[in-house]
């Protein structure tokens, strides 16, 4: 329903908010499917940060969508066909929750049974993400890095400038400021918890980076950019993002230097399981740093544009 509303509406502001709701509902759906980690990510990224970023870019353009120039018949046809094929394809798919489905028979049992002993962490999602399929996560971190780089290339490399505190601030809203002040330590603390507790509970570098960045963005929105940029200057962010992926890659290179395959964490310590622990901790840190700096970077770049216009 919300998706249809999004398509029909021409008010981009309302659309962005609806997108947020849509993401949140998706997150609930993921929870329902027992995919806690995915739900967490969807809630933090989809419902949280992207809404802020989309609103920021909305500020740069206009609120109303231009009337479409093309007829929407062909796209509609393509969408209907795609949907039909998707439904068609589910007809023969195994039922949800069917324990005999191939997904539960082939690769997964080992992740579940041996994961805790081989990788040594209770959260098997983290074990699969960061170790068994660690190279995919390495790639995903590079995707984030690439996205940040793309924004930098398109919207400009930031030159140091004099921050103007009077803009961007919500001057009179004392209640808001107090609430934000109270919230921020909690958000940052929670971000750290998610970062380092990913081995045991839901979460990890991706979510932590997003949450941490949210804290900074919130402060920026409420109190102006001056203070935030004292803590994290804009020109550090691309370097931080690069540093994050280099940490992840560096772990892999250490494995290589020990003549083990790339990203084989058992090279990091004498005891393989111990090595796994250390490796996962390090790569999650790399992921966290990159995600945090890229999101904050995109926000800064958009805010910078706003000031120029």
């Amino acid at each position: 329903m919300i998706a249809i509303a999004i398509i029909r509406l021409r008010d981009l502001f309302a659309i962005v908010i609806l997108f947020g709701i849509y993401s949140f509902l998706t997150a609930v759906l993921f929870m329902d499917l027992d995919a806690v980690d995915v739900a967490f990510t969807e809630a933090a990224v989809g419902a949280g940060v992207t809404t802020v970023l989309m609103l920021s870019s909305l500020y740069l353009t206009s609120r109303w969508e231009a009337a479409p120039r093309h007829s929407s018949f062909l796209p509609l046809l393509v969408v209907i066909i795609t949907g039909a094929v998707l439904v068609y394809s589910t007809l023969d798919a195994p039922l949800y929750g069917d324990p005999s489905a191939p997904v539960h028979q082939h690769v997964a049992p080992r992740y579940i049974q041996k994961g805790p002993t081989e990788v040594g962490m209770p959260n098997m999602v983290t074990a699969v993400l960061a170790s068994y399929r660690g190279y995919d996560t390495f790639g995903e971190t590079f995707v984030i890095f690439t996205a940040g780089l793309g924004v930098m290339l398109l919207l400009g490399v930031q030159k140091p400038h004099k921050p103007r505190p009077e803009l961007n601030t919500i001057e009179d809203e004392i209640v808001l400021k107090v609430v934000v002040k109270l919230l921020i330590p909690l958000i940052l603390l929670y971000g750290l918890y998610v970062q380092f507790h990913g081995d045991f509970g839901a979460g990890g570098g991706f979510q932590a980076g997003v949450i941490f960045a949210t804290g900074f963005i919130l402060y920026d929105l409420a109190f102006g950019e001056k203070e935030v940029r004292k803590v994290v200057p804009a020109h550090w962010l691309p370097r931080l993002a690069a540093l994050g992926v280099l940490i992840y890659g560096g772990v892999g290179v250490i494995s290589l230097l020990n003549n083990k395959p790339f990203l084989d964490y058992s090279a990091l310590a004498h005891d393989p399981v111990h090595g796994q622990h250390l490796g996962v901790l390090l790569v999650e840190l790399g992921v966290g740093i990159t995600v945090f700096s890229v999101i904050l970077l995109i926000f800064y770049v958009l805010a910078n544009r706003r000031r120029q216009s």
Binding site: R110, S131, Y132, Y135, F142, T146, L149, L153, L154, P261
Partner: protein, 493 residues
């Protein structure tokens, strides 16, 4: 550390890790040098991989030390090493050309980031080729695509933004389709490893889920490789991108997509399922033919030479797809051959166009008037590349066309063979347009134009010479292509 053992991963991560390094260096010349050095190292690694694989057979490399299918596997077989060779060689050559060209086309403070994005695009393509894991393909596809969108948008013309956005939308749809396809395969088999998929798919091949997954996967790849009629993003993207990006993309991006198509339909699904059970062979045959002829026709009427050769690329993709659609060993050999050969000619042509853009600032047909006398070496390069494009012996273009025509005759499809020859005839027309302007047009006396700098002529002429060297000494390319084909069609990689 035993270097030879880790070659499969080094080919990919050396350029990949250079990208953040470029950002940290944040200095135009240093970033260029880092990019150049790492791409040559990667090229060297690819060369030794080719030798290693053809001597000892496929290499399997377990990332993170987990054995497949639990972990991710890098699998280098003959075809993979051959495509890796193309990608790394083109990156290494284009980067020599890039120094002057990028300095002129990209704002000074963005150059370091630009090279970082280029290295990401390059490493992403290499990663797609090297991996033996279906989901890993998607991850590296995202890296290379995102970087490519950013690179295209850096073109000087404002229309580059539009072109990049169109590509972004089309590319994202393609990537999503590929992901849905991979997802349904995973749902039915519980594995993501390509060889494991190939082993487990026949059991469930007769389900709607697998068939729909197959459809999503091929349409998604079709978008990426600009298969007619999904090619609309390509001409503008190539025409408005910065010169070095056009040169690199034209020589590699669609080749990697073709490689992915071959992997998907021949390795994962198997030739009997894809080209026998599903009607893909006829579909590819028809689409390939239409793409080849329509794009060549459109190319004849282009005024901007970069767009002209972009349309010619769509036509050339038609030839490659046609080879697959013929569904016999010779056809597939011709496709694999043309991957390499087309990279050589389009690489040469787009580098030459980049040199023209460097001296003149644009590449419309009018600008070429009389250029044959003003930039003799560059223009000679374009003519040589054009001859190869048409398929005149002893160029490499002739070799690919020869095999393609042989393949059509093997299937008794002589009308198709005639159409292929007609396509070459169209190529003669559009190349001639350029030659006529350059050599018989009156030069514009008000401007003085010097020959392009050596750093541009050197990679151009290396490619031109390669165009004819590999046209005469066909042992290497034909040998590798036949080896790859027999591995692909003889069950498994």
């Amino acid at each position: 550390m035993n270097l030879t053992e880790h070659l499969p991963i080094l080919v990919v991560i050396i350029p990949l890790m250079t990208a953040p390094l470029c950002v940290l260096l944040d200095h135009p010349r240093l970033a260029w040098f880092a990019a150049l050095a790492s791409s040559w190292v990667s090229f060297a690694a690819a060369i030794s991989l080719v030798m290693q694989v053809s001597a000892q057979g496929p290499i399997s490399y377990w990332l993170g030390g987990w054995e497949p299918p639990w972990g991710i596997e890098y699998r280098i077989d003959v075809l993979a090493s051959y495509v890796l060779l193309i990608v790394t060689a083109m990156a290494a050559l284009v980067l020599i050309f890039a120094k002057e060209s990028v300095q002129k086309e990209i704002p000074e403070q963005r150059i370091a980031y630009f090279y970082a994005a280029f290295m990401l695009a390059f490493a992403g393509l290499a990663g797609i080729v090297a991996t033996g894991d279906a989901f890993n393909v998607f991850v590296f596809l995202e890296i290379s695509s995102l970087a490519t969108y950013a690179l295209i948008s850096m073109g000087k013309d404002r229309r580059a933004l539009n072109a990049s956005f169109t590509y972004l939308v089309m590319g994202t749809i393609g990537a999503t389709f590929i992901l849905i396809g991979i997802g349904s395969l995973y749902m039915m088999t519980g594995t993501l490893n390509m060889l494991d998929l190939a082993e487990r798919l026949p059991e469930v091949a007769d389900t709607r889920t697998v068939r729909a997954g197959f459809a999503f996967l091929t349409v998604g790849i079709g978008l990426k490789l600009a298969l007619f009629p999904l090619h609309l993003w390509l001409p503008n993207a190539y025409a408005y991108a910065p010169s070095m990006v056009s040169a690199f993309l034209a020589a590699t991006a669609t080749k990697v997509a073709i490689y992915l198509l071959l992997r998907a339909i021949l390795v994962i699904f198997g030739i009997d399922f894809s080209l026998g059970l599903m009607p893909l062979d006829n579909l590819l045959l028809v689409l390939g033919l239409i793409g080849m002829l329509s794009a060549s026709l459109v190319a004849v009427y282009q005024r901007d030479i970069k767009r002209l050769f972009a349309y010619s690329s769509v036509a050339q993709i038609g030839y490659m797809v046609l080879g697959v659609g013929l569904a016999n060993a010779t056809g597939i050999t011709s496709t694999i051959l043309h991957l390499f050969n087309h990279a050589l000619m389009k690489g040469a042509l787009f580098i030459a166009l980049g040199a023209v853009a460097y001296r003149i600032g644009s590449t419309t047909l009018k600008d070429f008037s009389g250029l044959g006398r003003q930039m003799p070496f560059t223009m000679a390069g374009i003519v040589a590349g054009g001859l190869s494009l048409i398929g005149i012996p002893p160029s490499v273009g002739f070799i690919s066309k020869w095999y393609l025509v042989l393949a059509t005759l093997e299937q008794n499809l002589w009308p198709v063979a005639l159409l292929v020859l007609f396509g070459s005839f169209l190529a003669v027309i559009y190349v001639w347009k350029l030659v006529e302007a350059a050599y018989f047009g009156e030069p514009d006396d008000t401007r003085t134009i010097r020959e392009a700098p050596l750093s541009m002529l050197a990679p151009l002429w290396i490619l031109v010479i390669a165009n004819f060297y590999f046209g005469i000494h066909t042992d290497l390319t034909v040998g590798l292509a036949t080896q790859a084909t027999s591995a692909l069609t003889g069950g498994g990689g």
